[in-house]
């Protein structure tokens, strides 16, 4: 297979995006273009990329070596060269596959969801730009090229969150997402620069880095590791940089499904896995990462319990699940983390698309307490949502169970009992809040009857595909107790962090615990919300509902603080001190002139006196000079 096709995986969506964007601008300013053309162009791109990805997958599966394609020198300074290069190895092709697959389904879904929207073409232009950036991120062969994709997805996220940009809230959310991500990027760049300084001059692609990273002292590696992880925190919404993700739900639901649940937010996990050679050397940073992940998981789950906005609940659950992934990658079990990325992509995309369908159906209402009893009206959505909710709650045989269980098991086996405990508890909470959402939305009593909107097939079909995926995705990573071949671990052998052999009985015991915990959560939710009475108006409030006031605290410290500082600088310092000093110097000079001007008093005798003074000073000078 020609390795240059790697570039086409990225280029196709990119070109598609460009063409769509140009057509859209043409369409709105000159002549209207039919939406069908947009749809066709838009959906073609991810599918083509997916097919190329499949071809690479098959080729790698048949034992081909990693594909490397370096079309040109990106930058060459001081004799050191950074190439624009793409790497198709097992990890990246794995990511390509699921990104393009999920991407394709969501494209189809979006074609239905966005139907008739004014910005139809724009939406797909952004969407394909996102695909291109994400694929660039995945396929890059060096951290710098990865960073191009990394920022590209951030930009698309911004654009798509603020898709309906006339509403201030959306744009503010977009800004927040971008800025918070930039804080992460700051870390990423610092890590990158340090890495370049220490090893990059020997070559800056992953291979070279892997070869030479051991030359760097551990203390430096620790800094690099933490700096890169800060980047991951931003992109993957971990404590303390998670605040943007819930707000990001302001974007259209397909965006939330694709970007803010399935793909982009997992970039951090992917990045850590990509740098496994680095993190393998610094397990203490990994542990820190795992703790951050665990606390993020717990914290987000707690907040999710009291939220009322269906998309926000899902957003917090995303943060929570991402926390699980970081537990895995932090503990060196990269393949396990990626496994969860994989299963999560399916069920979370499904959840969001289901939620989107619900939202559309009830006429753009997002508060679950204003829904209720939708089971009969939306039977298909009901059933796929059930599958997804079960999957996220960790109930076998749905996909989430396997991956989450494996993470918990890994945590236990690494003797990280606290993490294990948190993970387990979070699992219970997850089951609880997800079923709370589910029951309130689809069950309950005394709910109001609502006008239902029609759901097109292009929205329903992807739900089915993903439901299938959410059900069976877990089987690619069956634990040892069920199957000798864990496909994921096999495929990503290099990233599995060493086989952790566990006794079968222990393993089954752990599974049992997980299931019991998950069921417990469900039962509590059932009791509380299955027959939820919509007549009694309860207002959610309290510290948890208000997300522990973290947003407000951030706002106060950072936003207000910097705004005050900005005013201080431009008004007090610049205008008040520096400019004033300059101007008063000039004014002082002129005033001094006015004072001295009194010498021009037009009195002849005074003038003569000055002359005399001059002559006298000359005389004095001569006396001194001649002695």
């Amino acid at each position: 297979m020609n390795s240059s096709l790697l570039a086409w995986i990225i280029l196709i969506p990119f070109i598609s995006s460009f063409v769509l964007g140009a057509l859209y601008l043409y369409s709105i300013s000159i002549k209207k273009i039919n939406d069908t053309i947009f749809t066709f162009l838009a959906i073609l791109a991810p599918i083509t990329s997916f097919l190329i990805g499949v071809a690479f997958f098959l080729s790698l599966k048949n034992g081909a070596t990693d594909y490397m394609y370096e079309p040109y020198t990106w930058l060459g300074v001081n004799g050191y060269i950074i190439s624009m290069g793409f790497l198709g190895d097992k990890l990246s092709i794995f990511m390509v596959l699921f990104v393009t697959f999920i991407g394709s389904t969501i494209h189809v879904y979006a074609a239905g969801y966005m139907k008739g929207d004014e910005g139809y073409g724009k939406f797909f232009s952004y969407f394909n730009l996102f695909m291109a950036s994400m694929l660039l991120l995945v396929l890059a062969n060096s951290p710098i090229i990865m960073f191009i994709g990394w920022e590209g997805v951030g930009l698309c996220s911004y654009l798509l969150i603020g898709f309906y940009f006339t509403e201030p809230l959306n744009v503010v959310a977009g800004n927040k997402a971008f800025i918070v991500n930039r804080v992460g990027d700051l870390g990423f760049i610092i890590g990158l620069v340090i890495m370049f300084f220490y090893v990059g001059k020997l070559g800056f692609d992953y291979y070279a880095l892997e070869d030479y990273i051991s030359l760097v002292p551990t203390s430096i590696l620790t800094i690099i590791g933490i700096a890169l992880f800060v980047g991951a925190m931003g992109k993957s919404a971990q404590i303390p940089l998670y605040v943007w993700l819930p707000d990001a739900m302001a974007g259209p639901t397909p965006v939330s499904a694709l970007i803010h649940a399935a793909t982009m937010v997992t970039a951090g996990v992917y990045m850590v896995a990509r740098f496994h050679f680095l993190y393998d050397l610094i397990p203490h940073v990994g542990e820190f990462m795992a703790y951050i992940g665990a606390f993020s998981a717990l914290f987000a789950a707690i907040i999710a319990m009291r939220q009322t906005d269906i998309k926000k609940i899902l957003a917090y659950s995303t943060i929570s699940q991402l926390g699980y992934m970081f537990i895995a990658v932090g503990l060196g079990a990269y393949s396990t983390g990626l496994f969860h990325v994989f299963t999560h992509a399916f069920f979370k995309a499904l959840l969001f698309m289901g939620a989107g369908a619900v939202i559309i159906a009830v006429g753009h209402e997002q508060n679950i307490f204003k829904m209720g009893g939708l089971r009969k009206k939306l039977p298909l959505v009901y059933s796929v949502m059930l599958i997804a909710t079960l999957a996220i709650s960790g109930i076998p045989p749905f996909s989430g169970f396997f991956s989450k269980d494996e993470i918990l098991l890994k945590a236990y086996r690494h003797h990280e009992y606290l993490i294990y405990g948190i993970g387990l508890f979070t699992a219970a909470l997850t089951a609880y809040y997800m079923f709370r959402l589910f029951f309130v939305t689809f069950h309950g009593k005394n709910y109001k009857q609502k006008e239902m909107h029609y759901l097109s097939w292009s929205m329903k079909a992807p739900l089915l595909v993903l439901a299938f995926g959410a059900t069976v995705a877990g089987f690619v990573g069956l634990p040892e107790v069920f199957s000798q071949t864990n496909l994921i671990d096999e495929w990503l052998k290099a990233y599995s962090g060493g086989a952790l052999h566990v006794e079968h009985t222990t393993e089954i015991m752990f599974m049992g615990i997980s299931v019991v915990v998950g069921l417990a959560g469900i039962v509590v939710a059932y009791v509380k919300y299955f027959k939820y009475d919509f007549n009694k108006e309860i207002q959610e409030s309290g510290i948890v509902y208000n997300k522990f006031y973290i947003d407000e605290v951030y706002h106060f410290i950072f936003v207000r603080g910097i705004q005050k500082l900005s005013r201080f600088i431009s008004v007090d310092v610049d205008d008040g001190v520096i400019d004033k000093a300059v101007m008063s110097l000039c004014g002082g000079f002129i005033n001094m002139g006015r004072r001295i001007g009194r010498m021009q008093c037009a009195n002849t005798r005074v003038y003569a006196f000055f002359m005399l003074l001059g002559i006298s000073s000359f005389s004095l000078y001569l006396i001194l000079k001649l002695g």
Binding site: N591, R595, G597, R598, Q600, C601, R605, L612
Partner: protein, 106 residues
């Protein structure tokens, strides 16, 4: 002998010159100012004449004559201006003439 009288003449010149300068800056009457200037010129004339005598050449004397001529022409200007000034202000006080004073001072 010649030495002593030389010093005396020069001293006289210095005295006259100093009186002239003092008159220039201390008196307000235009005429006196004019006379002070003439006094200074004549003091220099004395120097020239004395030197001429001392050197035994006529140069200095000639110069003195010519200075007188110049002083005369200056006098013409002086007197006509004084007339003009008196016409304008009916005053011979030099301090009354300050229309050209600097404006906008502090």
């Amino acid at each position: 002998m010649i030495e002593a009288s030389f010093i005396s003449y020069i001293s006289l010149a210095i005295l006259l010159f100093s009186i002239g300068i003092m008159g220039l800056i201390s008196r307000k009457n235009i005429f006196i100012i004019y006379m002070s200037i003439e006094l200074m010129l004549n003091a220099i004339n004395i120097i020239f004449v004395t030197l001429s005598k001392y050197f035994g050449s006529m140069d200095g004397q000639i110069i003195a004559m010519m200075v007188m001529a110049i002083a005369a022409s200056e006098a013409a200007i002086f007197l006509s201006l004084i007339v003009a000034m008196y016409r304008l202000k009916h005053s011979v006080n030099i301090d009354d003439f300050n229309t050209l004073k600097q404006k906008d001072t502090l």
